[in-house]
Symmetry: C3
Subunit: 204 residues, 3 copies
């Protein structure tokens, strides 16, 4: 039950981040909603395609779509009000990322995936929505460029797989993985940690 609530929180925050990008790009109401919904459920759809779950669960369940659509419409009409909430949205987005990484890895293990594949598919579920969002609005995906985002997702998914391998109960491994992924993301944001950039002396 707690997990379902968390998952819907994750979907809502991903829908918000997607629809805010749509507003900035001046898309129309449908475009804003489509980018919002796709950001929220895109990672889960890719996860289900990789795992042979047909049709993807996000397309069969009113709850996910309803939450994603509502969040997108709210952003469309109230985005000026929300411009002061950037910090809160970043925190919720980090929570959503951690949740999707760990639930994705758990679903992959349940579907019989090997440990390596399960960790990669969990990370894909967490970052896929954001990559699709940026491809749709014609930007180089943000997570390729700066900030620690995919590394925490990989860490959380890997923790779930490791916990499964040593026999921890599923609920505990979900909590551990989410705390690790979300925690590392938040610490990295607050400390300004990032990965090295390539040295390109010839262009400077």
């Amino acid at each position: 039950m707690l997990l379902l609530i968390l998952e819907l929180v994750g979907i809502a925050t991903f829908a918000m981040s997607g629809s805010l990008v749509g507003v900035v790009k001046r898309l129309d109401l449908f475009g804003v909603c489509l980018v919002g919904v796709f950001t929220a459920i895109g990672g889960g759809i890719v996860r289900d395609l990789l795992l042979d779950i047909h049709p993807p669960s996000s397309l069969s369940n009113w709850r996910y779509l309803g939450v994603a659509l509502t969040a997108s419409v709210v952003v469309f009409y109230l985005h000026t009000v929300m411009s002061g909430l950037n910090r809160e949205i970043l925190v919720l987005d980090a929570l959503g990322m951690g949740i999707f990484a760990t639930t994705g890895a758990t679903i992959a293990l349940d579907a019989g995936a090997q440990p390596l594949a399960a960790a990669l598919i969990g990370a894909t579920a967490a970052i896929g929505g954001g990559v699709l969002r940026d491809v749709l609005v014609n930007e180089i995906p943000l997570l390729l460029q700066r900030d620690l985002y995919a590394v925490p997702a990989l860490l959380g998914a890997t923790a779930v797989v490791a916990a499964h391998e040593i026999g921890l109960p599923q609920n505990l491994s979900l909590v551990i993985g989410t705390v690790l992924a979300t925690g590392l993301r938040l610490v990295a944001l607050w400390r300004g940690w990032s990965l090295p950039q390539p040295r390109l002396p010839r262009e400077d």
Copy 2:
């Protein structure tokens, strides 16, 4: 038989719209053909992946590929002649969109998808090709930005699902859905209907 003809008309017009974009972007002959073919069959491939139909029917059937390729080559060599046909192409494209939305929803229902998933997959089949076209040529998908396009597709697919739920025969529901989707698209084009844009006072 009528349906097959309509479907090939839809594929031909989608291939034309894709290859015209390729010509404008100055791609070479293969690039123009690839964008044209992908626009024509891309929505159907995504539909089949979501429904677990392997390999996608468009990849196994000479007819679809042959029509899409022929239309693309014709556009490559005769595009200057066709520049006066914009109105006719828009009408055919609206017909193709309506056909793909309703056949997509029907195929999804036949494959055992739930009503919600069937409506969404039908709409995806109708708009997927155009989105892939615009992503390939590095543009923000047109349908996210203006005009009613995805809304008619959703309407047509939903009509098919509703007709199926109340027990109408499949052929009748295909006709109803296509007429609704194509009709709304054409009326919206002629009347200039569109969805609201976000208000961004700070940027004006």
Copy 3:
């Protein structure tokens, strides 16, 4: 055994071409690695999704990922040293393309695909990684614009299917297809062959 070595060479060169693009785009270490890995295994993932192989073999096998990741990290730190190796990289890339086209078609035939689908899926495996690379870094895919790239891939995959139809042994058809695809690509590069561009007198 020879084939496995060749396949790993193909993955390494594709990872190099992807991560070099990431360096030019000034992505961070993770971004460079993700683009490199995705370029190397993206075509195979799309191939496996189309063929209903779950989860895709590249996600289940340490060897592919390890080689792709190592090549990307090497490029990230040593890209200045490698700037003199453009010619060698083009040759290796042509070899990788030929290998992926023919192994892709072979895997498709083994999975029961029809000849047409097998040829198309083989070509998709060969060009998919490069298309995904360019979409990720927000460029119009290079292979749509100039040079012969997809035509040799289609030729190699078609040769494998034809050889299979007339009953040649699999190893022989793999060699024939790879030599044809890679050879045509190299000859086209050295002679500067390309496909016709559309005539756009109005823009000149």
